[in-house]
């Protein structure tokens, strides 16, 4: 927490070191969120790329006083929605091979362990709002109240989305085990 405040302060001064540190600290976390939202590695890469490039360029006017992690999370949420809107569809039916890698070269790929890939595949079957809620609450550590503000709905709606989403996930994963 303290480190983030120092990073924000340095970043506002135009420090490249601070940008590097923020990038290293949050890249994988934001990538995991983006994969969870988009269920497609190429789209997730684009989302994270666009967020960091915009963030890097914003240092002079950067006046964010709240939590840096929450700020970047919100950027990913908005960017993911934009991508999905632009694509004009609900995000992906996930191709099996897309889960492993879009690239033959692991250096260029997004890497995830077997359980993460299995979870992500199950997440892809949820409606977008439920998926966003589940990922933000469990992976992003956001409170239902915060998600409600982000999604412009009531807390009850968020709690409902979370409960339905989780039940469905459990059922998908149990079916997988039985297969």
């Amino acid at each position: 927490m303290i480190e983030d405040e120092i990073l924000k302060w340095r970043f506002r001064q135009g420090s490249k070191e601070a940008l590097c540190r923020i990038y290293e600290k949050y890249l994988d976390y934001l990538l995991t969120l983006a994969v969870g939202f988009a269920n497609d590695f190429n789209t997730a890469q684009d989302i994270v790329h666009d967020v960091f490039v915009r963030f890097a360029a914003s240092w002079q006017g950067f006046s964010q006083r709240g939590n840096l992690k929450s700020y970047l999370t919100t950027c990913i949420v908005n960017q993911a929605r934009d991508h999905i809107r632009r694509a004009g569809r609900q995000p992906g039916e996930l191709k099996e091979d897309a889960l492993i890698s879009e690239s033959d070269c692991p250096e260029r790929a997004i890497i995830g362990d077997e359980v993460s890939q299995q979870l992500n595949k199950a997440l892809a079957e949820l409606p977008y709002e439920q998926r966003e809620t589940v990922v933000l609450h469990l992976k992003g550590g956001m409170k239902f109240k915060e998600i409600a503000a982000l999604q412009s709905v009531t807390i009850n709606t968020v709690q409902g989305r979370y409960r339905y989403g989780l039940d469905k996930l459990r059922s998908i994963l149990n079916d997988e085990v039985q297969k």
Binding site: Q13, L19, S103, P106, L138
Partner: protein
């Protein structure tokens, strides 16, 4: 059935990471975007000051100017208070003779007994020359505790749990690390207050106790127009040396300042041994082997293993991982360097070492380890009762299976009477099993 709690737990652990090239590509693009928007800013002045400070002569001149500059602000504060004959420039001056420093950072969310520790050596210009950091497990739960050493741009990281040593000369990692160390540097903390005070963004409150044994307290509260608004740093300054002993950090929450962490500074200018700025994995390996040697494998139980070696990194059988409460009859306890302890019905049956254990040295009778040759093994363990060449491995005790299935160099030799079995590739030990000892009559 998978309970909801398990799904929640697994989702919390879900993790994807970027491959090295992708990581670099995004960072490069972000850096370009950053560079394109970069213009000279008033905020950059402190950096110029820092550059000037690299030159010894300029540094003396600059300190004089700073002392003069800061005096006004500090004097204003002093005029309001009693008469504390201390001004922050004294600490700035004292700081600039620092060559060595040991720092501990305590995070209240984690154990007080597990601080992050930093050792710093500065060059004549006041720039970090060597750094060592002990990262506790809470800093990076996924990777476990680690030791990082930075020597003028080159960084070496030792992941204790995996016993893995990584060298990173990449500027990006190195810069990140250097920055973290700098943030803990009291010189820069004081310098920041100076900058902010000049901009009237911080309010300093100085209390100097009459008792010389008690520290001077500098309370720096960031004002609403400060980029640090809502934060307060409390510096404890030694009256005799004017050096900072510790810094407490507070954040304004619900109308009151709540404690967020503490930096403690030790051993100002106590020379740090050069070995501190290198990583000696051998020492750790020897300590681990010494612990292994305390175990009597012939009657050791799981509890003995945990008592002596500590908790394993994981419980596994093949690729399957288990928790402590759902263990099968046979499983392995995995320790750093993939040192396995095989368990059957709660009893230890074998210590199993693969090629990752090469760093553990000659673990069997101080003469055989991973990489030992077949000749060395025969010399220590003795000749086999029979040698079978070019045939399949039938796992018979006391028999040396050489060039198994016609594969030159692949061998197997098991001596339960001596509590050892080995697999060879190219006639060199690649897997070593330390087993329970059986009498030769049982063979």
């Amino acid at each position: 059935m998978r309970p909801t709690e398990k799904v929640e737990r697994e989702l919390k652990k879900m993790n994807f990471s970027a491959g090295a090239e992708l990581r670099k590509q995004i960072l490069d693009d972000a850096m370009k975007a950053h560079e394109q928007t970069k213009t000279q800013s008033a905020f950059e002045q402190p950096n110029i000051w820092r550059t000037l400070m690299k030159n010894k002569l300029v540094r003396i001149a600059a300190i004089t100017a700073i002392v003069a500059g800061i005096a006004f602000g500090v004097t204003n504060i002093l005029e309001r208070g009693a008469t504390p004959a201390y001004a922050i420039e004294q600490t700035i001056e004292a700081n600039h003779s620092i060559r060595f420093l040991h720092i501990k950072y305590f995070d209240p969310k984690h154990s007080e007994t597990e601080p992050k520790e930093i050792w710093l050596e500065f060059d004549e210009g006041g720039q970090p020359k060597n750094i060592r950091v002990h990262m506790p497990e809470w800093e990076s739960p996924g990777e476990g505790p680690s030791v990082v050493v930075w020597n003028q741009g080159k960084m070496t990281v030792w992941f204790k749990n995996k016993n893995l040593l990584e060298t990173r000369e990449n500027n990006e990692f190195s810069n990140r690390f250097l920055m973290m160390a700098r943030e803990a540097d009291p010189k820069l903390a004081v310098e920041r207050f100076y900058e902010l005070q000049q901009k009237k963004q911080v309010e300093l409150e100085i209390t100097k106790p009459a008792n010389k044994a008690e520290p001077i307290i500098v309370k720096a509260t960031h004002l609403p127009n400060s980029p640090y608004a809502g934060w307060r740093w409390v510096l404890y300054v030694d009256q005799a040396t004017n050096l900072v002993n510790s810094v407490e950090i507070y954040r304004l929450q619900d109308g009151e300042f709540k404690y967020e962490g503490r930096l403690e500074y030790y051993d100002y200018n106590q020379p740090i041994a050069p070995e501190m700025f290198t990583i000696d994995t051998m020492k750790e390996s020897k300590e681990f082997i010494a612990k292994v040697n305390q175990v009597n494998i012939n009657d050791a139980t799981v509890d003995d293993i945990i008592r002596i070696l500590g908790q394993p990194l994981s419980y596994r059988k093949g690729k399957e991982t288990f928790t402590q409460d759902n263990l099968p009859e046979r499983y392995g306890m995995v320790y750093p360097s993939y040192f396995w302890v095989f368990i059957h019905k709660g009893k230890v049956v074998e210590f199993n070492l693969g090629e990752d254990c090469a760093s553990l040295g000659h673990i069997f009778r101080d003469r055989i380890g991973i990489g030992s040759s077949l000749e060395e093994v025969l010399d220590v363990v003795g000749q086999p009762v029979k040698t079978v060449e070019g045939q399949p491995n039938k796992w018979e005790n006391g028999v040396l299976y050489k060039d198994i299935d016609g594969h030159k160099g692949e061998c197997y030799y098991q001596r339960p009477d001596q509590g050892v079995r080995m697999f060879f590739t190219d006639y060199k030990v690649t897997t070593l099993g330390l087993t329970r000892t059986e009498s030769p009559t049982n063979q």
